[in-house]
């Protein structure tokens, strides 16, 4: 009986166990179902997404950058090249766990360098933290020795831009820099890395695409630590082009020497092609320091407030001053307002009939009876006050525009400004005032609202040399792929061709006549040059009670208020092959300071074409 009872009890108990097990099983089955459906979702439904994801984890497409194209002169002289740098870095992910390795690195490899706290790099977003960017040979050898104890510290070889002539071509070639938002690089389509260098100004920027070539790709499989396992695929890069400069090394050197310790700009151009032969803006800087290929300061502290990065040739807006006079004279002839024989009495001032305001010339006692030739040779202000008041602003503006004033020339440099060629509408829009006759009169002597860049000035003056033809200024004549042929930008046609000769002969007389403002340049058997001096006022002389000279003496106390010295010229006559504009900021005298530089350049350039004696 007891056994049967026991069996019954057992039976009951097994039933209870089974039913309770079933309840647990139901709960667990629910979890199993959740798990299975998730596994099916992962492996079947979202499989493609995860395949992509896992490939993105392990495959890194490393761009293969070809070495940047060279920039050289016609004769093969290297102006910009690439030099090898061996740098060591730590991946951002490992910086905090690499303290001991950094210690070891300093102890064994970098004994000669000061210690730096690399944890201060924490905030930066860059992936690589550079410990040293240029190991010397000794350090490199030691690094190789200790490499295995420094697994987090990686070596990378990079090429950096180097200009053997340092400052000499700084405003031509420009420099490289890290990509910023301003560069508007679309990283998805263009193969740049976040730490790639890109041309920031100058030729480096304008010819970035050609100099860079087309990067290839190397698909690399990496592990979770970013360590390369193997290369999966490689697409070779396309070689970039080497560029040939139009510049003349000799002229460039002379120009820079002449402007040393001064602020100013020199531009020399072949009027028949637009090829630039010298381009100097002073002060300048050492691009190698910005390129990371040299250490130090890019410019001396003395130039700190003088904008050494500012390219005065293409971005500096100066009053053209008296260098505008040949063009105003040309317009006067064209419009028939004056003839070469028209005489104006220069008593030292010009008075506007309507309001009686007096405009003084630079020469207090006046130039007496003045015709066009004398007005240009002696630079009579009063003659051009009179002439421009009759020409009106509308005719002056549209005529000057034909010579490129108020427009960019399209030179292959970055950040060219178009300066200001004022019109009635321009004044109304910009200053909010109506145009006065006085404004026109100021333009007549290249003062007031009108400004131009040295580049515009040389471009326009070359039109006189070529009788109307203006070629687009170019720094690059050809690459190894294509030739950049001279490009005719404008062709100014005159009613009478003879007017060119009248103006040119006046400009020759500026130097050759005894009374010429640049007669100091005259040599008996020298190269024949046509030119025009200019002295651009910085501080306008408005107080009518003071005499000009007294007032100016007061103003010039401050060097920054002194006039700019200008000289626009071309030569030799006949068959000019070089047009030169020289601007020396606060140089005061166009003839004494600016003109000799221009002459030196033109003369020196002729040596190239003389047979060796």
């Amino acid at each position: 009986m007891k056994i049967i009872q026991d069996l019954k009890k057992d039976e009951k108990e097994i039933q209870s166990l089974k039913s309770r097990s079933r309840i647990v099983l139901v709960i667990i089955s629910f979890l199993i179902l959740v798990g299975l459906s998730k596994i099916i979702q992962l492996t079947i439904l979202d499989n493609n997404d995860y395949v992509t994801e896992s490939d993105r984890n392990r495959i890194i497409n490393m761009p293969l950058f070809p070495s940047r194209g060279l920039i050289q002169l016609q004769d093969g002289t290297i102006i910009a090249e690439n030099i090898v740098f061996q740098g060591i870095y730590i991946n951002r992910k490992f910086i905090e766990s690499s303290g001991a390795q950094i210690e070891l690195l300093h102890e064994k490899v970098l004994q000669d360098r000061p210690k730096v706290s690399y944890l201060s790099y924490k905030g930066e977003s860059k992936e690589k933290i550079w410990l040293v960017d240029n190991l010397n040979e000794k350090e490199l050898a030691k690094y190789e020795l200790y490499k295995n104890s420094l697994p987090n510290i990686k070596l990378e070889t990079s090429l950096r831009r180097f200009l053997p002539h340092k400052n000499l071509f700084s405003h031509v070639v420009g420099h490289m820099g890290r990509i910023t938002r301003d560069d508007e690089i679309d990283f998805s389509t263009e193969k740049y890395l976040s730490d790639s260098l890109i041309g920031k100004v100058g030729l480096e920027r304008v010819y970035e695409k050609s100099l860079r070539g087309f990067p290839g790709t190397s698909a690399i499989e990496v592990d979770v630590f970013g360590k390369k396992i193997r290369e999966l695929e490689r697409i070779l890069p396309k070689r970039p082009s080497n560029l040939t400069l139009t510049l003349d090394l000799q002229l460039q050197r002379i120009a820079r020497e002449e402007l040393a310790d001064r602020r100013g700009a020199i531009i020399a151009i072949d009027p028949n092609t637009g090829y630039i032969k010298a381009l100097v803006s002073s002060p300048d800087y050492n691009p190698n320091i910005l390129n990371g290929s040299e250490k130090g300061m890019p410019f001396s502290k003395v130039f700190k407030d003088q904008a050494p990065f500012f390219n005065r040739v293409i971005s500096g807006s100066y009053p053209p001053a008296s260098t505008i006079k040949p063009f105003i004279g040309l317009l006067g002839l064209e419009e028939g307002v004056v003839t070469p024989k028209t005489i104006i009495e220069d008593k030292g001032f010009f008075q506007i009939k309507e309001d009686g305001r007096k405009y003084r010339g630079w020469k207090e006692e006046g130039h007496g009876k003045v015709n066009l030739r004398k007005a240009i040779v002696e630079s009579s202000d009063v003659y051009f006050y009179e002439l421009s008041s009759q020409l009106t602003v509308d005719r002056i503006s549209s005529f000057l525009n034909k010579f490129g004033f108020g427009d960019i020339t399209g030179i292959d440099l970055f950040n060219e400004t178009k300066s200001t060629l004022p019109t009635r509408n321009w004044k109304l829009g910009t200053i909010g005032e109506a145009w006065f006759v006085g404004d026109t009169i100021n333009i007549g002597i290249g003062q007031g609202y009108i400004t131009s860049t040295p580049l515009q000035l040389v471009s326009s003056i070359s039109a006189i040399a070529t009788k109307g033809k203006i070629y687009k200024p170019r720094l690059i004549s050809n690459s190894n792929i294509q030739e950049y042929k001279p490009e005719l930008l404008m062709d100014v046609e005159l009613e009478k061709e003879i007017h060119w000769e009248i103006i040119e002969s006046s400009m020759i007389a500026v130097i050759n006549s005894r009374n010429g403002t640049a007669h100091n340049l005259f040599r008996d058997k020298g190269v024949k040059i046509a030119g025009k001096t200019g002295t651009a006022q910085i501080k306008s002389l408005t107080d009518q009670e003071l005499t000009v000279r007294e007032e100016y003496q007061g103003v010039r106390e401050n060097i920054k208020n002194r006039d700019h010295a200008l000289f626009a010229s071309y030569g030799p006559i006949p068959n000019p092959n070089l047009a030169v504009v020289v601007i020396v900021e606060n140089g005061e005298s166009g003839s004494a300071v600016a003109a000799p530089i221009a002459q030196k350049l033109i003369e020196n350039y002729q040596l190239k074409f003389k047979p060796n004696e």
Binding site: E13, S21, V34, G35, S54, E221
Partner: protein, 371 residues
């Protein structure tokens, strides 16, 4: 108790078709399923450990030791070790207290006991000791358990769980508590007590949450949105999901899993070995593994339901559920359904303690089977 533990089987009459293998391992299907899973585990461990033979050898030693222990235990009479099992609770509790008082050096949390050549986590042992000792306690008398028995066993589970929580290891604490509650429930815990436990839990829930450490709260929260923080706490889960998902139906092939071979999966040889299986063998591999696991669990219950005593039945069913639960928790954790807790994939993940303790449990199960 005059008989020696071994003579029970020796005295059994031999069956007409004597099979020495059956005599030794008692259940051929269960044994070969276990050997199958264990071998597969070694095979996967080689891949997941970055092809380290030394790790495989070490694991193999544990497996062999575990199997010998299993076979040995399977020939003991359950009644002979029932009392020992009941008192093993104190050993477990002692180990849990020991790690809290004398934390092993070199570990962030006080979970480990380090013997130098061998280190283990007592919490891995308590997961299996606790349910068995509770079953033994509840079946120590012939009569049905009384209210006091229920409260004592519940209290004993909770005590272990609290000690584990203090290590601190919230996930394992919950698992320990669950592995204690399963046998209590199966033994017939009255519904009134269950209801009152639930009431207590709901009332104390806010206090428990505020008592959690911030990183534990964070772990629970990453569960809700693992994609929100791919490089933080959710990174492990995201990588493991990527591995399984990219494996697809057929997998990438043995040793070809990029996520696992390139170390994107953290702890790929231990807790996350399931994602290596998924990546290299795909859904098909996962299904096959589940099938063998299923056979093992089926055998456990089959043996359990036909066992002779209440103790044997309860022990088998409890261990069966706990085994199933561990698999489930590990898989759910790896695929990102539940937070990351330290539960290895039974019989596969690298780790000596886990293997040996599980095989011991199978020894207990097999010991209830009569040939």
């Amino acid at each position: 108790m005059s008989r020696s533990p071994l003579d029970y089987s020796i005295n059994k009459p031999l069956s007409s078709r004597f099979n020495p293998l059956v005599f030794i391992v008692k259940d051929l299907i269960l044994f070969f399923s276990l050997v199958g899973v264990l071998s597969f585990g070694l095979f996967m461990l080689y891949s997941a450990s970055g092809q380290s033979m030394s790790m495989v050898y070490r694991q193999m030693i544990y497996i062999c030791g575990g199997l010998i222990l299993m076979v040995f235990v399977s020939h003991l009479r359950p009644n002979s070790y029932k009392n020992l099992l009941m008192h093993s609770y104190w050993l477990g509790l002692f180990l849990l207290m020991y790690v809290l008082i004398v934390p092993a050096k070199g570990y962030e949390t006080s979970r480990w006991i380090d013997f130098g050549f061998f280190s283990f986590q007592p919490s891995e042992i308590i997961r299996l000791i606790l349910p068995l000792s509770l079953v033994a306690y509840l079946c120590r008398k012939e009569i049905k358990p009384q209210l006091s028995d229920w409260l004592v066993t519940s209290g004993a589970s909770l005590t272990c769980a609290i000690f584990v929580y203090k290590q601190p290891d919230l996930g394992t604490a919950i698992i320990v508590l669950t592995s204690g509650l399963i046998p209590i429930y199966l033994a017939g815990l009255p519904f009134k007590i269950i209801a009152s436990y639930f009431g207590l839990l709901i009332v104390s829930a806010p206090f428990i949450w505020s008592g959690l450490r911030p990183y534990q709260q964070e772990r629970v929260l990453t569960l809700l949105d693992p994609d929100a923080d791919p490089l933080g706490t959710g990174w492990n889960i995201a990588q493991s999901q990527t591995a399984i998902g990219s494996g697809g139906l057929y997998g990438k092939g043995y040793l070809e899993g990029t996520q696992s071979q390139l170390d994107f999966i953290p702890e790929s040889h231990s807790d996350f070995i399931f994602s290596v299986i998924g990546e290299e063998f795909g859904l098909i591999g996962i299904s096959l593994l589940f099938l063998i696991y299923g056979i093992i669990i089926w055998r456990i219950f089959k043996i359990g339901y036909s066992a002779e005593s209440r103790f044997e039945r309860l022990a088998c069913c409890s261990l069966g559920f706990i085994f199933l639960l561990f698999i489930l928790i590990n898989v759910l954790m790896v695929i990102g359904i539940i937070p990351v807790v330290g539960v290895p994939l039974p019989l596969i993940s690298q780790g000596g303690t886990s293997i040996v303790v599980h095989l011991l449990a199978f020894g207990v199960i097999l010991s209830t089977k009569k040939i």
